[in-house]
Symmetry: C2
Subunit: 243 residues, 2 copies
């Protein structure tokens, strides 16, 4: 296999989390629906709400990555976008401040795709596994605890003070482990994330998640690069990595 040579030196497999390990669209939808039932709110399309919330993510990050805005934690960016979309969904006056703060923590409680935990448990037997995510440490640690994700350690955006695709994120991940770039593999459902990682010398694994964005998905329906490994699930990745 073409990737046998490429992967033999890998010591750590680091993962994009939003979309790759966890299903943010399904999770936010379900949590929104549950909250609506509890509060007696009707007529809100929570799946559209989830997509609208996420649609503020890349633009919000971009302002930080491009230097237009000083370092801003992801929880703040999530909250700003939440405040933008609540009126758009007729929810401007439905929640108090404590409730809004809790809704913002939906992102701390995302559920994994069905193959994620089984695959990670297998990978963990042979490799160090960690998220390489734009999430905050509290977000990622809470998510792992809530979902039972068995990370060996966590890389959060606060540790790098940078968001992917800023090259600094990938460089710092390699530096902190004290290894060579080719000893770290990024697994992600996003081709541009893998491209940025490859530029820094990391190994790459594409995990296909063609339903991540639902109606909003415009790319990442398949691998668009010759990544070291190309699979459909984390379990397939474990298989390909000899676990």
């Amino acid at each position: 296999m073409a990737d046998r040579q490429a992967i033999k030196d890998v010591k750590a497999v680091v993962f994009d989390t939003f979309g790759t390990v966890t299903d943010w669209r399904g999770s936010i939808t379900r949590m929104g629906e549950a909250l609506a039932r509890k509060k007696g709110i009707e007529g809100v399309d929570w799946e559209a709400f989830a997509r609208a919330w996420r649609a503020g993510y890349r633009p919000g990050l971009h302002r930080v990555i491009s230097g237009q805005r000083a370092w801003t934690p992801l929880d703040v960016i999530h909250r700003e976008r939440l405040d933008e979309i609540l009126p758009e969904f007729g929810l401007a006056d439905r929640f108090g401040e404590a409730e809004k703060a809790d809704i913002n923590l939906f992102w701390h409680r995302l559920a994994p795709w069905p193959d994620s935990i089984p695959g990670l448990l297998r990978l963990k037997t042979r490799y160090l596994i960690a998220p390489l995510s734009n999430g905050s440490l509290m977000l990622l640690a809470s998510m792992a605890k809530h979902a039972g994700i068995p990370w060996d350690f966590i890389y959060s955006s606060d540790m790098h003070m940078a968001y992917k695709r800023d090259p600094e994120v990938y460089r710092n991940a390699v530096r902190l482990l004290g290894v060579m770039p080719g000893e770290v593999m990024l697994a992600a459902a996003h081709n541009d994330d893998l491209e940025a990682a490859r530029k820094e010398g990391l190994r790459t694994a594409y995990i296909n998640r063609p339903t991540e964005y639902g109606a909003d998905q415009v790319k990442d329906f398949k691998a668009t690069g010759d990544w070291d490994v190309i699979v459909d699930t984390v379990e397939d990745l474990a298989e390909r990595m000899g676990c």
Copy 2:
């Protein structure tokens, strides 16, 4: 109980590892003895070797903390001390470079005290748990994997670019979690570590490890401050923390 109020806001319990969670002296002794058997080396007091190795730790860190030396990873400091003591134990020419590199990894494979894993598993049900250690990320992640330590995440000295008792370590730990200082508790077997943590507003738990240094132990036979919790084991800490 006096500590009830103090601990009610705690969200994360972070641990000193060398001596508090793991028994470096017993572990290094056993690994040295096993290596000696394999290599047919006789007449070395491996327990004295372990103590001699550790005796270079504080002075080595102090040069970095005091600014006399630029940031130097702990694995380098361990290796420098190893090279110093090998001749002192008649081992100058007994090991090749690859073997010396592997002996340096003894610190990556320390075993926990018997109460550590049971106590941490209980604490993990209610709190985020992590090391706040002078170890490197690779050291701490390898140690956790080897020993089955169930950390939620890892703080390594490389993340802070500072060693305890530099105040920056405690401040950065709080900052990265995005919480108030009083929401983080340091658990340690070393009174001066707790003192430095308390100065930054952290909660404190003293775990008594009076045999840590063996014949070299000159302090930390008991709590010398009115720490929020004072116990003999991690299991006792879990009990006191309501787990």
